[in-house]
């Protein structure tokens, strides 16, 4: 087991390296001059500072050297200074990651719980009314753009009904030290809901399919013949065999989650990594952009790693179950 994991970790490191190359190349190709951008935004830079900046960016150096400079700085833990925030990129990522992580975990829980529950309902009542209605709903959700749903939610729950705040992660005007966890959750709710709608449809439909497969299998037939009720069937046999695959799918959908958070956070002005990366791109904040890209790749890679491990665990179980 440990061997497999260490091999995976090596793969991840290689992956991150490759991602950094791609990201750096893309950013270098941009017609925007990073130093010029910094200066335009900064407004006040002494000549000495300018020389320092140019050295950091290696403006006159060939791209390869620039990349190596950046990489060496990265390995030392220095991801550069953000243009927009005027602070080290590392600090910003650390701060905002917690916010984004909280958001993604909430959304993940919503998707997992509601997706599985609805999937089960659909599977249980296959082809009957509940199944048909919920299925149509899922299809529509899959087709709607996340940001549009987010806007509707914002309009409905924040502006019209005023049940929730219009954005941010903390109440306006409150000192950092005074904010409670309940308030954070309160501000978290709508963005998390929006984000959960991204993969919700998929999870529900997937769970439905898996449940149908399981319910059609032989051991279920046997259990039915023994006189077990529908409910027991579902809970004792169905859930066990569908939840784990659903969970695996969840872990593998980290990429979608992160991508969706970019949109959800922008709509709700939620200060997380998603809104930061969008702002970074728009304002040509290169260090921040690169930093978050790497980080997101790491995040997705970890998610995939966990999914792979889980899948390894599931397979033998299902194998055993089918052989009954």
């Amino acid at each position: 087991m440990i061997e497999i994991i260490s091999k995976q970790i090596l793969k991840i490191i290689l992956l991150l390296l490759a991602v950094s190359v791609i990201a750096f190349t893309l950013v270098t190709l941009s017609p925007v001059d990073p130093v010029q951008q910094y200066l335009l935004g900064a407004g006040a830079v002494s000549p000495a500072q300018r020389v320092q900046l140019e050295a950091y960016w290696g403006v006159n150096a060939p791209p390869l050297q620039r990349y190596l400079n950046w990489l060496c700085a990265l390995l030392r833990g220095d991801l550069g200074t953000s243009l927009i925030y005027r602070r080290p990129v590392m600090d910003i990522i650390a701060e905002r990651f917690l916010n984004s992580f909280a958001l993604m975990m909430c959304a993940w829980l919503f998707t997992g719980i509601f997706g599985s529950v609805l999937g089960c309902i659909m599977g249980m009542y296959k082809d009957k009314m509940p199944d048909r209605i919920i299925k149509k709903l899922c299809y529509i959700l899959c087709s709607a753009p996340t940001f549009w749903l987010g806007l509707i939610i914002l309009l409905l729950f924040s502006v019209w009904l005023r049940w929730f705040p219009i954005g941010f992660s903390t109440p306006i005007g409150m000192l950092n030290s005074d904010v409670s966890i309940w308030q954070r959750l309160y501000h978290l709710f709508l963005p998390a809901l929006t984000l959960s709608l991204v993969s919700f449809g998929n999870i529900a439909l997937h769970t439905r399919q898996k449940l149908i497969d399981v319910l059609n299998s032989e051991y279920i037939l046997f259990a039915r013949a023994r006189g077990e009720s529908d409910r027991t069937l579902l809970l004792r046999h169905g859930l066990r065999n569908t939840l784990l695959p659903a969970l695996t799918l969840q872990f593998a959908s980290f990429a979608e989650l992160f991508g969706g958070s970019v949109l959800a956070e922008t709509i709700f002005s939620y200060p997380g990594l998603g809104s930061a990366v969008s702002a970074a791109g728009l304002n040509s904040d290169v260090p921040l952009l690169l930093g978050i890209t790497l980080f997101s790749a790491l995040f997705v890679a970890i998610g995939n790693l966990i999914a792979n491990i889980l899948y390894g665990i599931i397979d033998p179980q299902i194998g055993k179950g089918a052989g009954l």
């Binding site: 990429a255 970019v262 791109g281």
Partner: protein, 285 residues
């Protein structure tokens, strides 16, 4: 049981043909109408701003007085163009890479698999932002971005198919008869692959549109004068709270409907083309 199945499949095919023609007609109509509608119909007319939907203006007008119905159609056609172009480019890339992986040596295969993992390892939107940034934002960045992010799953599919085909008997026979790899590829494999690729493109296409809308919404896509659905929606958000809801709702609904329809079309096609799954799945719609 078989008789029932046969009946079902027949009906299914009929339904599918009907379905396809309706959707195809709608999509083509949306596309063409967008091109054919003169600029004037969706032009700025400030004296007519913020009118609610009426018979004259089916979707109402926006804050600059532009008729939303025509603007949406134009936007839709732009989005469709971008979506189709990007999907086609993606499909071509995916096919080439998939075939290369399956037909080439082991090393190439591992390399390509690793490449696919790499591209899938970066969240789509971030990659899109990066590419758009590299191209200085605008249409070019959008097309390249969407084409470059969507080829991965299709490539995997193509690779799996080709690998499977490779082990077929008639391929082995062809080889024995002295046909070159290229000949086998063109004459045996491609025809077999084609339906799969077609389904892949059709299923890819809604994702492409949604991503295009998302990226335009964030501000990376087309300028506001050349509308695509994403821009229309993004601009309309500003006026939502002032009670002008129709610029946000109608284009959004239109997008959802088109995406939904194309998605279902792709699903049906997939079922039809793959007899195995068609038999297993008793319920189709």
């Amino acid at each position: 049981m078989n008789q029932i199945l046969n009946c079902r499949t027949l009906n299914h095919r009929h339904i599918l043909v009907l379905f396809t023609s309706i959707i195809g007609a709608m999509v083509i109509m949306a596309f063409l109408s967008g091109k054919l509608i003169p600029d004037a119909a969706a032009a700025v007319n400030i004296s007519q701003k913020n009118l609610a939907p009426s018979l004259q203006h089916l979707f109402g007008t926006d804050w600059l007085g532009r008729d939303l119905f025509f603007r949406t159609l134009k936007g839709l056609s732009t989005s469709l163009t971008v979506g189709v172009t990007a999907s086609l480019i993606s499909a071509v890339i995916a096919t080439l890479i998939g075939i290369a992986a399956a037909m080439g040596s082991k090393i190439i295969d591992s390399l390509i698999s690793w490449l696919i993992d790499l591209v899938m390892g970066i969240p789509h939107i971030i990659l899109l932002i990066l590419i758009s940034f590299a191209c200085g934002r605008g249409l070019k960045g959008l097309l390249i971005g969407i084409a470059a992010t969507h080829w991965t799953s299709l490539a995997r599919l193509v690779r799996a198919e080709v690998l499977q085909l490779r082990s077929q008997q008639y391929i082995a026979v062809s080889r024995k008869l002295g046909k070159s790899n290229r000949w086998i590829l063109i004459h045996h494999m491609l025809p077999h692959l084609f339906p799969q690729i077609l389904v892949g493109v059709i299923l890819l296409f809604p994702h492409a549109i949604i991503h295009e809308a998302a990226i335009s919404f964030l501000g990376y896509g087309l300028p506001p004068e050349q509308p695509a659905i994403g821009i229309i929606l993004s601009e309309s958000t500003k006026y939502l709270s002032s009670g002008v809801w129709w610029p946000a709702i109608f284009p959004g609904l239109t997008l959802i409907i088109i995406v939904l329809l194309v998605d279902r079309l792709g699903d049906h096609l997939k079922l039809l083309l793959n007899p195995h799954t068609a038999q297993e799945q008793e319920d189709t719609h």
